[in-house]
């Protein structure tokens, strides 16, 4: 157990406080990027390529330019300066390294080739249709088979290695040798990407759909070739992103370029079809697994060799081996990877990037190995649990996978499971077969650097600010909870100001690290503001504490009081500030990156979980449904139980989408993402939502700061898909190794009712 101090918070931490921004969201007054309108605002509509590879011979814009309301047609001839990010810079990450319209080469279907700007959206849309692009098409590759041999340009990487996995596997008594495939998936947040760019020479204000206002500012400064202080990025509310909005996409640069050329505010929004083309996706993966064990169920070797597709210009690595090196105890391990190029848009992280598709393969192989061993899959995992990260020899700061599996078993009723395939029926409905599956979950934990400010104002309110954003997870609310926790100022008197790159630099909302990153900075800023309030109390002329030593004073329940007397005997802080004619007691705070802390470097930091899933299989009508889920999460302290549960429920249902419904299909005929709408790319709906129980195993993780919170945006998705395919096997006898589970595959089931 790490010997870092944990702090004992007040009851507001861990409460079920509803979102403080709920009234804005439910009344329709929360402002999302596309909601901003300005006088003289005009609309940009991009034209996208209708070939997957080739060269643009010519673009005929003449008809479009003459159409009513058209102000500007941008092509690669006149886009103006848009720059690439300098290599080696670590202070900003873009998505697609090529700025839009940089050259006349088309690398994927749906790439921007032009943009029309007109007075109204309708005028811009009609004119965009009138643009004639003449292509010299070339051959393209969107093959789903990722068997390409590694090359000098895209070599095989050894990511982790111990013992000799190859010879251990060769001589092991029980083994599994299988390949697992996860498809390209589209994030599909309900809010489409949009930019409203306002140019006020020399300054840009960009109203953005971004998960990182600071990162967006840094990238756009380099892209537009202007100093950072001339870019302000605003995202007060985001209609979710799931990773798809982490890094800037080309429409943002086009909007800014058009605003600069026209000297008018420009709005550019993608449509739902473009969401599948040019704003990222989870790349397809193909993972070869060789796992072996002793007959009594101790792992002997793990080999995980995977490929993921990437686009033509960027080496986007989907880190499928995220959990492989440490999730189980095994003496021999080899983890290797390589990229393969396809004519697809740019892949980008999607909720639980790498780990989620990686764990589909790892946990599927574990299930198959358990079956080969004739061992219960929960038992098998418990037997190979470890409290040491064997990839680096470090202890875990806080790992309770065992407890997750045990509690999950109990809540799910796992002991009633008959392991025989097709042996369990739905109570009261003998035509429906039940399948029960389990999988373990894991996701990294950590935090980056950040700054925050807190002001305790003389009107009795507080203000906390940080250049981060709330992507729908509850960031507004937990920030207010921290200030309230430390000051006793009621939650409805704490104003949270985020979503603006002009604020103290804050983190991107990604990797489930935002909470752990900002909380220590807010805590420190609050404590520093309190110090100022105490100093004021000790010096203000009419203060009852005049002449006292500030360190003999304390701050609780929004009052300053003598440390040895109860808070009720104190004076409201706002009165003291007023006495001194001070507007606000201000405090600044910062968090440094986790890996800069020598104590933290001694530990391996991860969250864990277990997913238990029941499916119902009705062979008579070939219907498969997920009917019941128990999700147990070991994610450190939960700051807000309500928003935390929201995160897990939403992630589990997204996992049902991954397991049963979602695949972006690139047609081999043209390379186009074919099912680029909500009718053909199915996301889970109300009807797909089963009964879900969420349990948190709360062990505050002291390495992640005094609140011990690890962040839980992603862990809930991990393990869902392999638990589904394990359950499907249990019901049908069909092992699905390529997601999503398709009914056609299940027709091969020979299980009879």
């Amino acid at each position: 157990m790490p010997d870092a101090a944990l702090y004992t918070p007040t009851a507001i931490i861990g409460s079920e406080l509803p979102r403080i921004d709920g009234p804005l969201k439910t009344s329709g007054t929360a402002m999302y990027a596309a909601d901003y309108h300005f006088p003289h605002l005009v609309h940009g509509v991009p034209v996208t390529s209708t070939v997957a590879a080739g060269k643009i011979r010519s673009i005929d814009t003449s008809a479009a330019e003459k159409m009513p309301g058209v102000l500007l047609v941008i092509t690669h001839d006149n886009v103006g300066p848009l720059f690439r990010m300098a290599p080696g810079g670590h202070d900003g990450r873009t998505s697609e390294s090529r700025p839009p319209l940089e050259d006349d080469i088309v690398r994927y279907w749906g790439q921007y080739v032009a943009m029309v700007v007109a007075e109204t959206i309708e005028q811009a849309q009609i004119a965009a249709h009138a643009i004639k692009v003449d292509y010299d098409p070339s051959s393209f590759n969107v093959s789903k088979v990722l068997d390409d041999s590694p090359t000098e340009e895209l070599p095989l990487h050894t990511e982790s290695k111990r013992g000799d996995a190859i010879s251990a596997f060769a001589s092991a008594p029980v083994k599994i040798d299988q390949t697992y495939v996860t498809p390209a998936e589209t994030h599909n947040p309900m809010e489409m990407h949009a930019t409203v760019a306002v140019w006020n020479n020399p300054k840009f204000t960009l109203y953005e759909t971004t998960q990182g206002v600071m990162n967006h500012q840094h990238v756009m400064a380099e892209t537009l070739g202007v100093p950072r202080e001339n870019i302000q990025v605003i995202t007060r509310f985001l209609g979710s992103g799931f990773g798809g909005k982490l890094f800037p996409w080309p429409h943002s640069a086009l909007a800014a370029a058009a605003a600069r050329q026209l000297n008018r505010p420009v709005k550019v929004s993608t449509n739902r079809q473009m969401m599948f083309q040019n704003v990222g996706h989870r790349p397809r993966t193909q993972q070869h697994m060789q796992f072996s064990a002793t007959p009594d169920g101790k792992l002997v070797s793990l080999r995980h060799d995977y490929r993921n597709h990437t686009n033509l210009g960027d080496d986007i690595h989907e880190n499928c081996g995220e959990a492989t090196p440490f999730i189980y105890s095994v003496p021999n391990l080899l983890l290797t990877s390589a990229l393969v190029r396809r004519n697809v848009g740019t892949p980008t992280p999607m909720r639980g990037p790498g780990a989620v598709p990686g764990l589909f393969a790892v946990e599927s192989a574990m299930d198959e190995l358990a079956i080969a061993l004739k061992m219960d899959p929960v038992e098998f995992r418990l037997k190979n649990d470890t409290l040491t990260d064997e990839s680096n020899g470090k202890p875990f700061s806080s790992r309770h996978l065992k407890e997750c599996l045990q509690l999950g078993s109990e809540k799910f009723g796992w002991s009633k499971r008959n392991p025989k395939v097709g042996s369990m029926c739905k109570p009261g409905d003998p035509d429906v077969i039940l399948g029960w599956g389990v999988a373990a979950a894991s996701w990294g934990a950590g935090h980056g650097p950040c700054q925050a400010s807190v002001a305790l104002l003389n009107d009795g309110t507080a203000r906390v600010s940080c250049g981060t954003q709330d992507v729908g997870t509850g960031t507004y609310t937990i920030f207010a909870q921290i200030v309230s926790d430390r000051t006793g100022i009621p939650i409805d008197k704490v104003r949270v100001v985020i979503g603006d790159s002009a604020l103290p630099p804050g983190p991107t909302s990604g990797g489930s690290t935002c909470t752990a990153t900002v909380l220590p900075a807010i805590a420190e800023a609050t404590d520093n503001a309190i110090k100022v309030a105490l100093a004021t109390a000790a010096t203000a002329k009419d203060s009852p504490f005049h002449g006292k030593k500030p360190d003999g004073l304390a701050f609780h329940e929004a009052r300053v009081h003598l440390e040895d007397r109860p808070a009720s005997t104190g004076t409201p802080y706002q009165q003291l500030l007023k006495m001194a004619n001070i507007d606000a007691a201000n405090g600044e705070g910062s968090t440094s990156a986790l890996n800069s802390n020598p104590e933290a470097r001694k530990y391996s930091t991860h969250s864990f979980g277990a997913q238990f899933i029941e499916v119902e299989w009705d062979p008579g009508i070939a219907r498969l449904r997920v009917s019941r889920v128990v999700s147990v999460i070991d994610g450190g302290r939960m700051i807000n139980k309500k928003t935390a549960e929201n995160q897990i429920l939403g992630a589990v249902v997204m996992g049902i989408g991954m397991g049963m419904l979602e695949e972006t299909i690139y047609t081999p005929k043209t390379g186009q993402p074919l099912n680029s709408n909500y009718a053909d790319y199915m996301v889970p709906t109300h009807a797909d939502s089963p009964s879900i129980e969420v349990h948190f195993i709360e062990y505050p993780d002291p390495i992640l700061g005094e609140y011990g919170a690890r962040g839980i945006g992603e862990i809930g998705l991990a393990g869902v898909a392999p638990a589904i395919t394990a359950a499907v096997y249990h019901a049908t006898g069909v092992r699905v190794r390529e997601l999503p589970v398709r009914i056609e595959r299940l027709m091969q089931s020979t299980v009879q009712v």
């Binding site: 509803p18 329709g28 509310f237 799931f242 929004s269 929201n646 939403g650």
Partner: protein, 162 residues
């Protein structure tokens, strides 16, 4: 195409707008009338983010050319709260965690209002069906069901739904 003058009643208020006849009701609400509570999630009639009530029917405002709305009574999410007092459904969504990122929420609320107006005490199955046209990518839907059930139980929700 030249603009036409459209008369309509929005949230009880008579209004007229000049707009091209095929301009979407969604854009008239958002751009001409500054009612940005109604959101666009797809523009193709698939997601329900743009749900409003038109003459008492639930419609996707992205699929309604403004010409068709001439003389119509339109209710948007902005009609739900009265004098800043939230509607029981709004309260329930915020209490129960039915709104996460919140972008689907206005449409979801209009679909739920419509459902409760016709069926003050819907069962879980009826809620699933009533909200079938509205997608949400954040919540996993469970807290949305809870929200509607809670709102239905809240006194006054029936009389409040106009």
């Amino acid at each position: 195409m030249s603009d036409c003058r459209i008369q309509l009643t929005i949230n009880g208020q008579q209004t007229s707008v000049e707009a091209p006849p095929m301009k979407r009701l969604l854009d008239v609400l958002r751009e001409d009338l500054d009612l940005t509570g109604t959101k666009e999630g797809c523009g193709e009639g698939e997601c329900g983010s743009c749900s409003v009530r038109m003459n008492g029917e639930l419609v996707n405002s992205c699929m309604v050319p403004i010409l068709q709305a001439h003389g119509a009574h339109i209710e948007t999410v902005e009609s739900l709260a009265i004098d800043a007092e939230l509607h029981p459904l709004q309260k329930a969504f915020l209490e129960c965690g039915g709104a996460q990122c919140g972008i689907c929420t206005p449409g979801m609320l209009m679909a739920a209002t419509h459902l409760i107006a016709h069926n003050p005490n819907p069962s879980l199955e009826q809620i699933r069906e009533g909200l079938a046209g509205n997608l949400c990518r954040c919540t996993g839907f469970i807290k949305i069901f809870d929200s509607v059930i809670t709102a239905a139980a809240m006194e006054g929700s029936r009389t409040h739904a106009r």
